[in-house]
Each structure stands twice: as structure tokens, then as C-alpha cells.
Symmetry: C2
């Protein structure tokens, strides 16, 4: 099949093209930084014409926001799943947040995704999406998760996430001691 | 006095020129990102010739490393000062780390410096300086600060730092509740 034919073939699979654009966009963001990313580079990497890319994402900002939104959505889903398995109301959001964050740290592509999230969080618009998501989540679970010890437990797992991003050795140590760290963090949500 | 005269005057004050270069370099790093920084822009902002700048910092990397080193040195000094006031050996480094980090968060220019540190930590060389500093500090205080609860307490204040950087409201809340948060974090280093 020729290259042109392959492109024609993919035209009928817009979801696949979109996926390739998002995946290549995310990879290039990590490699070149969010500021250095160009739509042309993403189109080239995904083997899509610039016009094909613009059909899915009309601006660089739109592409970056979608990459970010997908990650945030996956994290949110992971938290909701963990909450379903927790019978205890007090601190249930915080424990699920801890579990979901540790799951991220244990993934093979953690460094790539964490570096991407960190780079994105330097963009004011995306930073706001994150803080809005967190505020809404905390508001929703105000009755069960607003105690100061819950806040500290969430900060502790955030710090663990940051340490994993900054230091590969720390991340290896975290993976090795994941079960123990998990139980210690969960313990923080159960202080009297 | 003419501009040229001002420059001649400053030639006799190399420490002052160096200070201006570091301060303007730091500011431009925050505004434009580390990747976008040029030595010419730093020279212009500091009202120093490019040659004058190169006399102090031969490469962009050298300038950035010095900006980073100064911050790290100040943080290290702040920790050592806090340790002097702590009569209890167990967890003394961790408590001083907590105190010094909270002091950073409370400063008026926290956002600027934190954003700069975060941007710099995306550079592999600077990331390594941070992790080496932390490893050496922890090695030095292994007998008193290697327990898992110390690690969690440090992670918690790191998370607080990150939250302050990501969300101005969180930072205002942290400043307001600084005393209470401080005592809660210190408490974490005194678990049996």
C-alpha cells in the first residue's frame, strides 16, 4: 500500500488519527517542552497532514488541553474506582487519591507522564484546570476529607510523586516499598 | 552621568554587576522559561554589555547553574540555622527541612522562586545537583533522619510547596495556617 493510500485508509478512522495525534503530541511535549512544540512537528510525527491535524485540533492550545484533560480524566476515573472498594466514609477520597497516585508512580511510563504534567502545569490555563478539579473534588467530599490530617496525607503522596519525578532512584525505592508506603499513607487518614 | 559613565563606574564593582546579572537572569528565567533564556536578553536587562556578562558567566549553563546554586545554598544555610535551635537529635534534619521549606512558602517572592526552581529541575544537570544535595544531607543525618516517618514528613512539606506553586489560594491558606501546619508536620517526625 502506498503512503497516500495509507493516509486515505486512515481518513475513515478519525478516532485512530486523533489517538496518534494525541500520543505523538504528548511524546513531543516531553521531549521538546510545551513551549517548543509545533503543530507541524506533531503532524509529521503522526504521519498526518497539517490539514488533517487542524481538523481535529484547531490550535496548539486545543491539542495540549486535550492531552492534559485525558490524563486528568484517567486519574479521576482511577480515584472513583478506588473509592468504590473503600467501605469507610471518613477520608475515602484522600485514600483513593493516595492509591491512584501510587499507581501512577508504579507505571513504567511514569517519568514521561509526570514530566509532561509538570511541564503543562507551568501553563496558567492548565494549572487552573488542575486546581479547579481538585477544589471541586474536595468540595464534593467535604464531609469526609476536609480534616487537616487528610490534607497532609494528600501532600505527602504529592511529595512522593514529585520525588519520583526528580530522582529515578527515589522512584525505584518507592516502587520497592510501595506496599509499605501505601499503608503508612493510608494510616495518616485514620488518625484520631 | 551618561550611560557610558555609569557602566564605567560599575566596572569597578564586579560584585554588583554579578548580582544584577544573577537577579535579572533569574527574573527572565521565570518570565520566559529556562529554554527561552538568552544571554543577550540577560545582558540587556542588567544594562551590561554582552562582553561584560561573558566575563562573569561564560555560558548560559554557567549562569543558570549559579542561580540554582545560590538558591540551594540559601536553603541549606536556612536548614543549618534551624538545626542549631533544635535540641532533639532524632529527626533534627527533617524538622529543619520542614521549617526552612515553610519559610520559603511564606516569603513574598515564593511563586517566582518556586517557578524558577521547578523550571530548572527540568534540566537534567540541575536535577542531579538537587538530588545529590538531598542524598548527601540524608547520608550525613542517617542516624537521626532515615526512619520512614521522617521521609513521609519531608514528602508532606514538599507537597505543600508544590500546592503553593500550583494554586495561589492554597498558598494563602498555607500562610494563614502556617503555625498549625508547622506543628502538624513537626508532629510527624515524633511518632513512636
Amino acid at each position: 500500500m502506498t503512503n497516500a493510500n495509507q493516509r486515505n485508509q486512515r481518513k475513515k478512522q478519525p478516532a485512530l488519527v486523533r489517538r496518534r495525534l494525541l500520543d505523538n503530541g504528548a511524546r513531543l511535549c516531553v521531549e521538546q517542552g510545551v513551549a517548543g512544540l509545533t503543530l507541524q512537528a506533531v503532524a509529521d510525527a503522526a504521519d498526518v497532514t497539517k490539514g488533517g491535524l487542524l481538523h481535529h485540533f484547531s490550535t496548539k492550545q486545543a491539542l495540549i488541553e486535550e492531552i492534559f484533560s485525558e490524563r486528568l480524566q484517567a486519574f479521576d476515573t482511577s480515584i472513583k474506582q478506588a473509592m468504590k472498594l473503600d467501605p469507610e466514609p471518613s477520608g475515602c477520597f484522600t485514600r483513593a487519591y493516595i492509591t491512584a497516585t501510587l499507581e501512577l508512580i508504579e507505571k513504567d511510563d511514569f517519568i514521561q507522564w509526570a514530566a509532561l504534567m509538570m511541564a503543562m502545569l507551568t501553563e496558567p490555563g492548565l494549572k487552573k484546570r488542575w486546581t479547579q478539579w481538585l477544589e471541586q473534588s474536595l468540595e464534593q467530599h467535604r464531609d469526609t476529607d476536609s480534616a487537616p490530617e487528610m490534607r497532609l496525607a494528600r501532600y505527602a503522596v504529592d511529595g512522593l510523586w514529585l520525588a519520583g519525578l526528580l530522582d529515578e532512584e527515589e522512584r525505584v525505592a518507592t516502587k520497592r516499598e510501595a506496599l509499605h508506603l501505601h499503608s503508612q499513607l493510608i494510616e495518616m487518614t485514620r488518625k484520631p
